[in-house]
């Protein structure tokens, strides 16, 4: 069975948590004891109705404030697919937590309140969706019941959003009118929206084509760990353990080890302790090479037919995620997969304006949640691809060397 990871973006008022509650509830994935706990908590509220949002707001502070602070992961399955939901916060203050949830998602559901249409939050969530290059987008126009299921309202929002999508270069965008509260068009299609001819939301989630999302052409294998038993019978055993991030590797393939540039040939591939002729992304394997060369954690084994760029200077779109402002000239650790290297943010060329989607040249400050274009110089060369072309080898994080906190997400260009 296939696995789809998706993120839901929208503020509480857009009905995001209600939508998730509805998906879990209607697919019978809520357990009785959790439902009983919900009923008990909902009684503290005035209207007495079960508040499905309480299902995902797992922290005390979230329940007290009625907002989502951090990503909650929820799981459900239908006979067709398994799903992992990243329920992400919508508030600007917690953007970095949405980025966390978005980074591993195959699909984003962007909720729009039919009464308000495309608003600033919608644009910000869409920017992050585009920035993190989530392959599939579903714009769920919610609360259709509150606009009398009006087709005109729906069409106008679709037109507005299409413009945002075009500006941001979002590729696969679908639209669906829903009412999360009533369950309209969530699991099954509704009689209230006869003019809507498309599938239900769950139908979309079950059938979105995922096969093309993993790149099988550009082979990238970052070495995580070297297995060397050093016992008598395995004296010469030296296996490079890691996960194939993209591509297919076969026994006998000619490979290059980056950034050093050594060449070798694949002698053997082990998967789960057995020798195999080929392995592919995202399998975790052990690779053996014909030549005895110096390879360690952080090195990238690639096939000769398609190579990444190697450089000690990269340009990237950076989402700043620390409360302390970014100071150009400061040194940070840059980590791309298993490779860590010291680096310095040389230049901030522009900041992305969330309202207008325009670029503001040479910004004075870079604060928490700002998205900026930067040039980063690294102490030694790194092997990378453009993030928009190969998500698994173009994303890097910046780590503050003194606090050890992850302060930035880089989408390398």
């Amino acid at each position: 069975m296939d696995l789809l990871r998706f993120i839901t973006a929208g503020s509480v008022d857009d009905g995001k948590s209600t939508l998730i509650g509805r998906l879990l509830f209607d697919s019978k994935s809520i357990m009785i004891d959790h439902l009983e706990a919900l009923e008990k908590q909902s009684k503290n509220k005035e209207d007495g109705e079960i508040d499905l949002a309480l299902l995902t707001d797992g922290l005390r502070a979230e329940r007290e404030q009625g907002i989502t602070i951090d990503v909650a992961y929820k799981y459900f399955a239908t006979p067709k697919r398994k799903f992992i939901i990243a329920d992400a916060p919508g508030h600007i203050q917690y953007t970095r937590n949405m980025v966390t949830g978005a980074s591993n998602s195959d699909l984003a559901i962007i909720l729009v309140d039919a009464r308000h249409g495309v608003v600033e939050q919608t644009r910000r969530h869409s920017i992050i969706t585009s920035l993190l290059n989530i392959p599939h987008v579903v714009v769920a126009i919610n609360k259709m019941d509150l606009v009398d299921f009006s087709q005109d309202v729906y069409n106008n929002i679709v037109i507005d959003y299409a413009e945002v999508a075009k500006k941001l270069g979002l590729k696969d965008v679908r639209y669906i009118p829903i009412s999360a509260l009533n369950g309209d068009n969530i699991v099954a299609k509704t009689a209230a929206l006869t003019w809507y001819e498309g599938p239900s939301l769950l139908d979309i989630l079950e059938t979105v084509e995922l096969a093309d999302d993993i790149d099988l052409e550009k082979a990238r294998f970052p070495v995580q760990y070297v297995i060397r038993p050093q016992t008598e019978e395995l004296h010469d055993y030296r296996g490079y353990a890691g996960k194939i991030n993209s591509g297919i590797y076969k026994k006998g393939d000619a490979v290059t080890i980056l950034p050093a540039g050594f060449s070798s040939t694949i002698k053997a591939i082990e998967h789960n302790g057995k020798e195999v002729d080929e392995a592919f992304a995202p399998q975790s394997v052990v690779i053996h090479l014909e030549d005895d060369i110096d390879i360690s954690r952080g090195d990238l084994i690639v096939k000769n037919d398609n190579r990444p760029k190697v450089s000690n200077e990269v340009e990237a779109l950076l989402c700043w995620m620390d409360h302390k402002a970014l100071v150009p000239g400061n040194k940070y650790l840059l980590q791309i997969n298993s490779k860590q290297v010291r680096s310095v943010v040389k230049e901030v060329s522009y900041k992305l304006d969330v309202h207008s989607l325009e670029q503001i040249a040479s910004p004075e400050t870079v604060a928490l949640n700002d998205i900026v274009k930067v040039t980063i110089k690294t102490a030694s060369p790194v092997a990378y691809d453009a993030y928009q072309e190969l998500r698994t080898n173009g994303g890097a994080i910046l780590i503050d060397e003194t606090s050890h906190v992850t302060v930035g997400a880089c989408m390398i260009q």
């Binding site: 357990m31 009785i32 004891d33 922290l59 297995i227 791309i336 050890h404």
Partner: protein, 302 residues
Amino acid sequence: MSAYRLDYLDQLESEAIHIMREVAGQFEKPALLFSGGKDSITLVHLALKAFRPGKFPFPLVHIDTGHNFPEALQFRDELAATIGEKLVVRKVEDTIKSRQLTEPKGKFASRNALQTYTLLDTIEEFGFDACIGGARRDEEKARAKERIFSVRDEFGQWNPKLQRPELWNTYNGRISKGENVRVFPISNWTELDIWNYIKRENIALPSIYFAHERTVLEHEGQLIALSEFIQLDDTDSIVTKKVRYRTVGDMTCTAAVESSASGIDDIIREITATKTSERGETRIDDKVSEAAMEDRKKNGYF
């Protein structure tokens, strides 16, 4: 499905192996917290896949409350011996004595909360910088929020409002002295995923996971094994039933479920049909308050 598309269990397996190898690559003194329950047994199975033919780059560590099921302890010792890996056992009993801790009293008094003291002492004793654990996000709503690399401060505390961003499969394991990281490789697995994997991989489990006759105390709908650790009253209803365990914790805080499931297939059928969550059905320790797990985690609990 394309020939180059992985089944969901293979995807989850690969993700978990990747996380374990990140621990091996990033930390100097990691440990694998092992309880003898199905989730940590699955972790050991994944570690075999991640590191063989090499040795594990970490010992198995068990924090023994003294209230464990004997079947789980026996299984623990046999497994460690079979795979030839180091097992460290530290006892809550000893911490209670040396630190003069007060044991909770009452009918089902549990040492669950006291485990944290022994765990933190053990981390300090060995200087562990990372502890791999078998917690899953589907278990409980506070766990649903936790990162895969979860940083704990020098008091072992989790700060849920200030978690590090965690992007892609890029894990930042850098910490200051005194801090440590709890790592959860099977975060994204559900209870059913675990059982399907155990079936597929033919993983051995302690016998108490399968239906057996047991004399139990029936208390507010929950079945608690008779043992020297619980207090009996004259009015208690003692019955003998065919039961199995859905989770394996302490004898004092884990309830059995009535079941005739003697094999994995039967168990998977029962879990698929069940309407109650794993912890809801079997854990007495979660019932204290709505935020019981969040509070325990903030204090350094696993």
